[in-house]
Structure formats: structure tokens, C-alpha cells
């Protein structure tokens, strides 16, 4: 009962970094509300409505993402949609810490705006955390029930190779190291993020490896990942070099 009362006061801050996501952000917000504002967590009637806020960290997108966010604030309310913009493109890692500074929840969810991370999985993250008391729940694409759509053979090969290499060398205890759809206890995220220095995909890997080394309880839920429908993404050959450097860095520092 005490546990339930604690749960009832849980608040989830959903941090969404955006850069040129005008079309996606409106859809994402709509879907988040659709999946959290009804009886989605069949644990108890107490959890009928999940208390949450969406923190959008926009890096001065030239496509007018912020105008769309302001319209969304009119519709959904400024207490639910927070726009915490930055003047220029400063990168993802710092976008998270920027959003984190404005988070009022005791839990933080990090997800992409491009709809690769579907909000329909939010209830399973929350449910998993409640059931296990985990400090981190991470979405994994590489178990049954999970999956990826829209990758060509080369992309799949790189991803598998990178994963086997990291699993063999780092023994991280989680199956998906570079995914970024995760739920953190806020205090844990604050602590882990402050010790991370990497960028890009390595950043996601560093976060989870450091958390795992610190002994935090990490759980996984299956997610599917549909590569972005609108806008463009970046993955080049230099990413692979960065990845290998990141791996070596983690080997000697964790």
C-alpha cells in the first residue's frame, strides 16, 4: 500500500531533443497523450492517469519546430509541454542535460522525436519500473517482441558487428547498447550523465555501461524501431571509427 502511494506521486519528465522535427513533433506529442492519458497501466486503478510533462529541447531549428511546439502548448497546456530551446545546434548529449535541468519529475524518459521510438511503449517502461523497482529501464530492439524496420543489409551488418564486439569486450549485461529510448530514475540520470564525455552513439553506450558498472538495477523492455519517416538521419563511415574509439575508451575507463 505504501509502495502504491509512492507510485501514485510519480511524475515522468519526457525529454525530447529536436532538430528540424516540425512534422514529427506534433505527431509525437499527440501519440504520447494518446498512450498515457487513459487507463493504460493495468496494475491498479490508482494509475489511471500518469503524471507527466514533455520537455522539448530544440536547438534553433530553422524549419519552425518551435512555432509548432508553441501551438501545441496552446492545445495541451504549458504545464504539460515545456519548450526549453537553445540558440543553436549544440549536440545531443548536452541537450539531455539541458532538458534534465528543467525536469520536475522523479523519473525521466529520453526518446527521439522522429517517431522511431513509438510512445505506445511508454506504459511498458513505466510498468516494468514499477514491477521491478529498477533504476533504469532500457528499450531493446534485439529480443523477441522487438525489432527494426527500414535498415538495409549494410546497416544491419554494422549494427550486429558493433554489438558482438561490445558484448564480447565489455560484458555490459544489456542487449541493446546504442538504443536511446530509456527511462531513468532522475537522480541516477543526473549522476551518470555527469560522468559521461562521449558523443553520438557512443554516448548512449557510455551511459548504460557506466550505470551498469556502478551497480544500478537495469531492466529491459522490447521495443520496435521504425527508421524515420520524415526528415533525414546521419550515419557515416566516420561513425564506425568513432564507435571503435569509444569502445577502447570504455575499456580503459570503466
Amino acid at each position: 500500500m505504501e509502495e502504491q502511494q509512492r507510485n501514485e506521486r510519480n511524475k515522468y519528465s519526457i525529454i525530447v531533443p529536436t532538430y528540424n522535427e516540425r512534422l514529427n513533433i506534433a505527431l509525437l506529442v499527440y501519440l504520447i497523450f494518446k498512450h498515457l492519458k487513459k487507463n493504460v497501466i493495468p496494475l491498479s486503478a490508482l494509475f489511471r492517469n500518469v503524471d507527466f510533462e514533455i520537455i522539448i529541447v530544440d536547438d534553433g531549428s530553422p524549419d519552425g519546430t518551435q512555432e509548432v511546439v508553441k501551438q501545441l502548448q496552446q492545445v495541451y497546456g504549458e504545464d504539460h509541454i515545456l519548450l526549453r530551446a537553445r540558440p543553436k545546434k549544440l549536440g545531443l548529449g548536452t541537450a539531455y542535460s539541458h532538458g534534465l535541468r528543467h525536469a520536475s519529475g522523479n523519473f525521466v524518459v529520453i526518446m527521439d522525436a522522429d517517431l522511431s521510438h513509438h510512445p505506445k511503449y511508454l506504459p511498458s517502461f513505466i510498468k516494468k519500473q514499477m514491477e521491478t523497482g529498477a533504476s533504469i529501464v532500457t528499450g531493446t530492439r534485439y529480443v523477441s517482441g522487438g525489432g527494426v524496420h527500414g535498415w538495409n543489409l549494410m546497416r544491419k551488418l554494422t549494427s550486429r558487428g558493433a554489438n558482438v564486439l561490445a558484448q564480447t569486450l565489455l560484458w555490459p549485461g544489456v542487449s541493446d547498447l546504442t538504443g536511446s529510448f530509456r527511462l531513468y530514475r532522475k537522480s541516477v540520470l543526473e549522476e551518470v550523465i555527469s560522468s559521461c564525455v562521449s558523443k553520438g552513439y557512443v554516448f548512449q553506450m557510455e551511459m548504460i555501461v557506466r550505470a551498469s558498472r556502478k551497480g544500478y538495477h537495469i531492466e529491459e523492455v522490447p521495443i520496435t524501431f521504425v527508421d524515420r519517416v520524415y526528415g533525414s538521419s546521419k550515419l557515416g563511415g566516420s561513425e564506425i571509427v568513432e564507435y571503435l574509439k569509444g569502445l577502447a575508451y570504455l575499456l580503459v575507463t570503466t
Binding site: 512534422l23 499527440y30 530492439r141 529480443v143 527494426v148 524496420h149 564480447t168 521504425v226 575499456l251 575507463t253
Partner: protein, 82 residues
């Protein structure tokens, strides 16, 4: 303990086992000398096998793309009319 130290320890344990075999002459020496080669080949095969198996069983979700498209398309129309 830094992770690289753990891995080094593991490698050291394996090589001392190998040196032990060499010293005690349990296996004929000419055979023992090729054991490290076997080890390296084995590790390589393991890696290739894991990548291969992972690639063959790569979980995909075409139906999810369809579902997303069904939600996205009408909403995009609405948003673009705003």
C-alpha cells in the same frame, strides 16, 4: 577494477594454463605450440558466427511500419493544413 584489467587477467590465466601444459609435457610439445593459434582462430570463428547468426535472425517489424504509417498519414494531412 578497470575492465581492461579484467580482460588482461583472463588472458593471463589462459596463457599460464598454456605454459603449464608446455612445462609439464602433458601434451606433446609440438602440439601445444599450435594451441594459441587454435585459440585465436576459435575467437575469430566465434565472432563471425555471432555476427552471422545475429544477421540471419535479425528481428524485423514490417507490420510496425505499416501501423505507424496508418497513424501518421492522416495526422500529417491535418498538421500541414494548420
Amino acid at each position: 577494477m578497470k575492465h581492461i584489467v579484467k580482460i588482461m587477467t583472463l588472458l593471463m590465466a589462459i596463457s599460464s594454463f598454456w605454459i603449464g601444459l608446455l612445462e609439464m609435457l602433458v601434451v606433446p610439445p609440438n602440439y601445444t605450440w599450435v594451441l594459441p593459434l587454435y585459440f585465436i582462430v576459435l575467437v575469430g570463428c566465434y565472432g563471425l558466427l555471432m555476427v552471422g547468426v545475429g544477421l540471419m535472425r535479425f528481428p524485423t517489424c514490417p507490420q510496425e511500419a505499416g501501423l505507424l504509417q496508418q497513424v501518421v498519414f492522416p495526422l500529417t494531412l491535418m498538421v500541414s493544413l494548420l
